[in-house]
Symmetry: C2
Subunit: 338 residues, 2 copies
């Protein structure tokens, strides 16, 4: 079972964690200043070493992936929205079947090494990323500076080149009016708060991405420790908010079950309305209010109601109205299946 | 099975039909001008003749009926809201177990003879009323005038003393914006349009009461014929409206199923919201859109979500909030039962 429909630690609040390392090859300019030949060199170098890395990783050129499949990867948070749309030649991903490892080639940097897990599991995830990074470092020459560490295209990644992020579902903080206070605290502690698809994207369904800001003058372990600490703080506050809401549980139960009733009975649902309803339904399942759904089903509902994953599942492209109708049918399928 | 949870003819549009005859006893003033002794005389006279009428009718003094039960009768449209609240002494009902016959004693007139059926069935219903009326006329002396016919307390009933009314469910006319046009036509044809509880009451859940205006200078058969004609016209127009709506069926299905989803999943429902949701759900069942419910279940939902019938079913009095919670539980029970 792929990580994005599994349940990890603390998954009542943390949907998933990602560790991303930015690396560049020595002697080749950063991507934006590369010639076509230099981009090809990066592409060829990584294609060549992929079989030596292990983990059943496969090298796939982006031009060999159809647009719909690219979008399914965006919706799973496996590749960036910009990378899915890029017209830059010689782009690729190095990915395994479980899709918990995905290296983007010629995205912002030559190499964006990413590993994923459901729930919150920073330490194991960081160890896995470092393990792959060390293997890769034996096979290619990284651009590295004695004083500044790993050099990256964007200065916000210089140093460790490490970004750790967590997707948190915090409807309780939103409902109790504590959301902005919490997001300010997170910001002040040197973390970024963003929408579900990273920088510049909008928050949907009370889901936010928390990521470290600082990459220079700090060790990998410190970054991991900080992200862990702040995530634990968010989890704690979100759980307090939910407990408070559960005291006036009739109002909450009523709202949650009305949302559930609409979700499983509507004949047309937009993407936006669906994620709002699912936020409510996930809260209900996590609080034990909704007994009709398992955690796995909620994760499936979140994934397969997204446009690309839905169309991929059905096996054909659909107009927006067709999507709104099919979304309702898929919801019913998932809710009913054993 | 009592008439109010059965399905009659044309019951996709007509919920029920009532025939009511107003009669007064000879030599006794109209109720408002009666002394206590005269009221007692009416009461005693009718109590005495009840066993001779047949139909398993029972005479029950209003003071022997608790308030909750009186309200259940109001909600079933068997007695008037005013009669349930009256402090006038010597009031009574003469009623059978099926509750399709109910004579109010010392309501507006000495005798309000009423018969009921689900759906539209004016002719059979009128025959039954006349049959009972003829039996009663052999047992008591009616106040009758050669020229004016039966004399009644309110001049709008003089003559035949006959009122025929039908409760019609016309959400299609409402949704297509044709409601007011239709109600005007009905008015112009000499019929009254009122809310569900008769004169001065509000329309709820797209349900209206249609009744004849004229009682004098017209025969019983003519009144019945007119009411039949107008009801058929309303049925025809409502069905045309529904057919039109069903063409753009996705929007309608979506609305109906969202309402159904809320109805069966909410944890708190007010009386007002429930009747609006049920109006939508009844339309869905009548159109064959909703397959989860039978007509009988819809009729039960309409009856047992009303405050008094709900409390009577549960067997205890409930606060408004308790009613809002219990209403949801009863809805689930009725939806699930075989």
């Amino acid at each position: 079972m792929n990580w994005y429909i599994q349940n990890g630690k603390e998954s009542d609040v943390v949907l998933s964690t990602r560790v991303r390392l930015s690396r560049n090859l020595k002697g080749i300019p950063f991507k934006t200043r590369c010639t076509k030949e230099e981009l090809k060199k990066v592409f060829d170098t990584l294609k060549e070493v992929t079989p030596l890395l292990g983990y059943n990783l496969k090298f796939i050129a982006m031009e060999d992936i159809d647009n719909l499949t690219k979008q399914t990867l965006v919706e799973k948070h496996i590749i960036s929205p910009d990378f899915a749309k890029t017209k830059v030649p010689y782009t690729a991903i190095i990915i395994n079947d479980e899709e918990n490892i995905c290296i983007m080639v010629n995205e912002e940097d030559h190499i964006k090494l990413q590993v994923f897990t459901s729930g919150l599991d920073v330490d194991n995830l960081l160890n896995l990323a470092i393990e792959i990074d060390e293997k890769l470092e034996k096979l290619v020459d990284y651009s590295y500076h004695e004083k500044y560490g790993y050099l990256t295209a964007c200065p916000t990644n210089v140093g460790t080149g490490l970004k750790i992020s967590a997707l948190v579902h915090i409807p309780g903080l939103e409902m109790t009016g504590n959301l902005n206070k919490m997001l300010n605290i997170v910001n002040n502690l040197g973390m970024n708060v963003r929408g579900v698809y990273g920088e510049g994207s909008k928050a949907e369904g009370d889901i936010y991405q928390i990521a470290n800001n600082q990459t220079l003058g700090i060790t990998e372990k410190e970054i991991a420790k900080n992200l862990n600490l702040i995530s634990q703080k968010i989890i704690e506050q979100e759980r307090i908010a939910r407990k408070y809401l559960a005291k006036n549980s009739l109002k909450l139960e009523d709202k949650i079950y009305r949302d559930y009733g609409i979700l499983v009975n509507a004949r047309r649902l937009s993407e936006e309305e669906t994620i709002d309803l699912l936020s409510s339904v996930k809260l209900g399942t996590d609080l034990g209010i909704i007994k009709e759904l398992t955690d796995k089903k909620v994760a499936e509902l979140i994934l397969y109601t997204k446009p690309a994953n839905m169309q991929k599942r059905i096996g054909k492209e659909l107009s927006v109205i067709e999507q709104e109708i099919s979304r309702c049918e898929i919801i019913k399928q998932i809710v009913k299946e054993d």
